[in-house]
């Protein structure tokens, strides 16, 4: 009976590659592939080189950092076709969605404000004007209804700053 059991195990030996095995990322290559070392001594060998992750979202390319923990599976149960199937928390190298290369902004992040060198202005001034002189004379109020004004304002480059005030509270970066 023991021999039969071993025979059945031998016949079904390819089932070894139906499992998903814990592994560690050793190196991420510029082309997005990674070298990983499985925990399982039977699978480990010299590690699995230049394998890619099947991402959990379409259009996504995910790369783990060195030391990232993951699961390795085999396409079609074929030991020649390993892939990374899932990830533990942490260990992010990068995520790109839809080929994106720009960083995502988050609440509180600064923004560059692009203003023209000279801003055209028009409107009505209400308040006080300060005549020149030393010592300064008393401020003069603008007439009732305001003082119509048209002209320009010069804003030095880089002097206007901005921050993001809102975002999706369920998606954090």
């Amino acid at each position: 009976m023991r021999a039969l059991e071993r025979f059945i195990r031998w016949v079904c030996r390819d089932l070894t590659y139906h499992r998903h095995y814990p592994a560690t990322v050793e190196l991420a290559h510029p082309d997005g592939s990674m070298d990983v070392t499985p925990d399982d001594a039977e699978l480990r060998g010299f590690g699995l080189g230049t394998i890619r992750a099947q991402a959990g979202l379409p259009g996504t390319v995910a790369i783990g950092a060195r030391g990232a923990r993951c699961l390795v599976g085999f396409r079609g149960g074929d030991p020649e076709r390993p892939y990374i199937s899932a990830w533990s928390s942490g260990g992010l190298g990068s995520i790109s969605i839809d080929g994106g290369v720009a960083g995502v902004s988050g609440l509180g992040d600064p923004l560059d404000v692009l203003l023209p060198p000279v801003l055209a202005l028009s409107g009505v001034l209400n308040g006080f004007t300060q005549p020149p002189g030393a010592p300064p004379p008393p401020p003069i109020p603008t007439p009732p209804g305001g003082l119509p004004f048209s002209g320009t304002a010069v804003v030095a480059p880089g002097t206007v700053t901005a921050i993001v005030q809102a975002g999706n509270p369920k998606l954090l970066v």
């Binding site: 059945i8 959990g56 783990g64 260990g91 994106g100 002209g151 804003v155 993001v164 970066v173």
Partner: protein
């Protein structure tokens, strides 16, 4: 050994392959460390449910908070019944997703922003009473909105 007995024997020999499959289950609770208490649909593996099951994500660097009742698949690392993992979610399960330890909500096209002006802005122009040259102090921050974003990535 008749066919039935042989089939039972083969089933017995290969019994560990039961843990090669992925099983639908329901989240009962999530612990502070992110692990889950799960109840599998399949009575054969349900028992009293599985506790402190780690999540394996489809992307690296991701942490999630999920709702009680969320539906997902349960698997077993290396086919080992003592090493369950949770993965592959049905829609509508999410409480919060954090990428790379992030704590700031993601901004989207159309979200609000605030502009802060320099202390003094040089102004020249005309008024009914003559030319005006001076400075302008804008004390109130100006509202703004994000004008663009990745069109295929929505949050």
């Amino acid at each position: 050994m008749n066919d039935s007995a042989l089939a039972k024997f083969i089933r017995f020999v290969m019994r560990d392959t039961r843990y090669h499959a992925l099983y639908p289950c329901t989240v009962e609770a999530q612990a502070a460390d992110g692990t889950l208490d799960l109840t599998p649909d399949d009575e054969a593996i349900r028992g009293t449910g599985l506790q402190a099951v780690p999540i394996r994500h489809g992307l690296p660097g991701v942490r999630v908070k999920v709702k009680q009742g969320a539906r997902l698949l349960l698997g077993f690392e290396a086919g080992d019944p003592t090493r369950p993992f949770a993965a592959l979610w049905e829609p509508g399960a999410i409480e919060e997703i954090s990428i790379d330890g992030g704590t700031k909500p993601v901004a989207r096209a159309g979200d609000a922003a605030t502009c802060f002006w320099p202390p003094s802005v040089a102004v020249t122009g005309t008024t009914p009473v003559g030319a005006f040259v001076g400075t302008m102090t804008i004390t109130s921050p100006a509202p703004a909105i994000l004008a663009a974003g990745a069109p295929r990535f929505k949050a």
